[in-house]
Amino acid sequence: MALDREVVQRIAALARLELSQEDEAAFTQQLGHILQYFEKLAELDTQAVEPTAHVVQIAEAYRDDVVTNLPATEELRANAPARDGDFFKVPKIIE
């Protein structure tokens, strides 16, 4: 199916991606092409088929509610793009 540029812009906004003009043009064409190929799935009647989300039976993974991970807070904070002491610095969110 052909994809129009407005749909690509809307999807990019949902995905929090700023696309360049070139990317936007290329994606409009490429994603349209790929989705057209994916239309193949419509050939199959899946009315009575259950979806598979996961292939293994996941056993119950309950455990006692105690802290088991080490509080490696310094290692975690060390990767922050911006920090102020023990805090992550973020752009202003309230005007």
Binding site: A15, F27, L41, P51, T52
Partner: protein, 486 residues
């Protein structure tokens, strides 16, 4: 004696046990080999020379005390989507260019506890999305058999490193063929275990219902040995399954008399390289000579696997990659702009084109109005693909196919057409959709001298049977003895 860097894990392990060589000598040989060859091959993003030598010295000290870890003193490489504490872990992405892993993945921990020496982090397609390693944000890895060709992907760095003897074994990850296809392209052995067999804790997620970690090495026995170390239940990964881990190496004796081998007719398609088909057909005959009972089988939904996979994988990826927002770790751009602009520019600047394309595709497949037609539909077809395998495995022990439709293609050949690139996964992705164990091993060469891969697929948690079939074939042939020119 052969050069230390080109030993198999098994041989090196035996020499270490006899104290004929030391772990430090082995590590130095690998590091020297990397020093000489990596400027051509570019298989490593990070070489951890100092840490490796320290681990090697510690391994020698452990051995001197009478300790015998299963990988004690053996140099291995780890794909850069797997966390290694205190060491940069990038997932091949600029968005994580400076990310220092705060903890070890369970598989990293298991390798180190077994005594392995980690010599570095290997290149891969960004977030493991690709079939050629050309999508790395840092470098293009070259195939050690021919520098003008790709090593396959996404674990292309690990495959090239093993093939170029820069390490004795490596870990890769496989979401749609990312261990098996590069193993085939580089003439080595690589295995994707059953979904749930190996923990993914500390493995940077791409598509969580498909991702699995596995071994890559020169021989089947070496893969069996590595798998025994990394497999097993992990309380940190609720999808890892609590089942006994056999000693995979011990089970290998080369006898496959009476093994029922199914050959799916849908895996010999028009457009595949003739030499690949010939090599795989010849390999099937070899298995028959060894006593296997070969029959043609059918996996009728094979032609739907690529759209099914690329809808499910991209949908899961779009969700998994939402975490890269420039707040707690990773790149941050446009810091002085609004929060929304910061998110959008950070992700635009940090992700490469293929990752953006897949996030777009996945976001589209999950978005209102399209969910039923794409994502839900794909999950239903996934059920049909899974059932195809169940039916075949009711009468067969393993399935044998080509690993990829062609040998390694040329660098740049498929980068402008994403759909063509996706089609390189045609024989490997169904195995991920069904969660099965699959292995690729060398079964010949094309006229350009590029290696051809044979894929062996088994029932869930029957890695032992897959390895047994692979080992029998390997022992009966000499392909694995040929080495890449670099």
């Amino acid at each position: 004696m052969t050069d230390l860097h080109s030993l198999t894990l098994e041989r090196a392990s035996a020499l270490l046990a006899k104290k004929e060589i030391s772990a430090v000598e082995l590590a130095r040989a690998a590091l020297k080999r990397i020093d000489i060859t990596n400027r051509d091959i570019h298989s490593f993003i990070t070489v951890t020379e100092e840490a490796a030598l320290a681990q090697a010295r510690a391994a020698d000290a452990r051995r001197a005390r009478g300790d015998t870890g299963p990988l004690l003193g053996l140099p291995v490489a780890i794909k850069d989507v797997i966390l290694t504490k205190g060491i940069r872990t990038t997932a091949g992405s600029k968005i994580l260019a400076d990310f220092i892993a705060p903890y070890d993945a369970t598989v990293t921990r298991k390798l180190l506890d077994a005594g392995a020496v980690c010599i570095g982090k290997t290149n891969c397609d960004e977030f493991a999305m690709g079939s050629s390693t050309e999508n790395s944000g840092f470098m293009v890895t070259r195939n050690p058999w021919d520098g003008e060709r790709v090593p396959g992907g996404s674990s292309g760095g690990s495959a090239a490193a093993v093939a170029a003897h820069q390490c004795l074994g490596a870990l890769g990850t496989d979401t749609g063929g990312s261990i098996r296809q590069p193993a085939a392209c580089c003439g080595i052995v690589g295995m994707k275990p059953t979904y749930g067999r190996v923990s993914r804790y500390g493995v940077i997620a791409y598509a969580s219902s498909l991702d699995q970690v596995g071994p890559m090495a020169q021989t089947v026995a070496d893969c069996a040995h590595l798998l025994a170390v990394i497999a097993g239940h992990d309380p940190h990964d609720s999808t890892s399954v609590n089942r006994n881990v056999p000693d995979y190496r011990k089970g290998l004796d080369g006898t496959i008399k009476g093994l029922r081998v199914g050959i799916p007719k849908e895996y010999f398609v028009e457009g595949m390289q003739a030499e690949v088909e010939q090599a795989v057909r010849a390999a099937v005959q070899t298995l028959e000579t060894l006593g296997a009972l070969v029959s043609e089988v059918s996996l009728p939904h094979t032609e739907y696997a690529i759209p099914t996979y690329y809808l499910i994988a991209t949908a899961e990826a779009s969700s998994n990659l939402a975490r890269y927002d420039g707040i707690k770790y990773g790149l941050r751009l446009a810091e002085r702009e609004s929060l929304l602009t910061m998110y959008q520019r950070t992700r635009a600047g940090g992700f490469g084109t293929e990752v953006k394309r897949r996030i777009m595709l996945g976001t589209y497949a999950l978005s209102a109005g399209y969910y039923d037609a794409y994502y839900l539909k794909a999950q239903k077809v996934r059920t049909l693909i899974r059932r195809d395998f169940e039916k075949v495995f009711a009468t067969q022990d393993v399935i044998v196919t080509p690993t990829a439709p062609t040998t390694a293609f040329r660098i740049g050949e498929k980068t402008s057409d994403p759909l063509q690139m996706y089609l390189s996964d045609i024989f490997t992705i169904s195995v991920n959709l069904a969660g099965l164990p699959g292995l690729s091993l060398p079964c010949g060469f094309d006229r350009s001298g590029m290696p051809i891969g044979l894929q062996i697929v088994g029932r869930p948690f029957e890695e032992d049977k897959v390895l047994q079939a692979a080992y029998a074939y390997e022992q009966a042939t000499e392909w694995h003895e040929k080495t890449a020119k670099r």
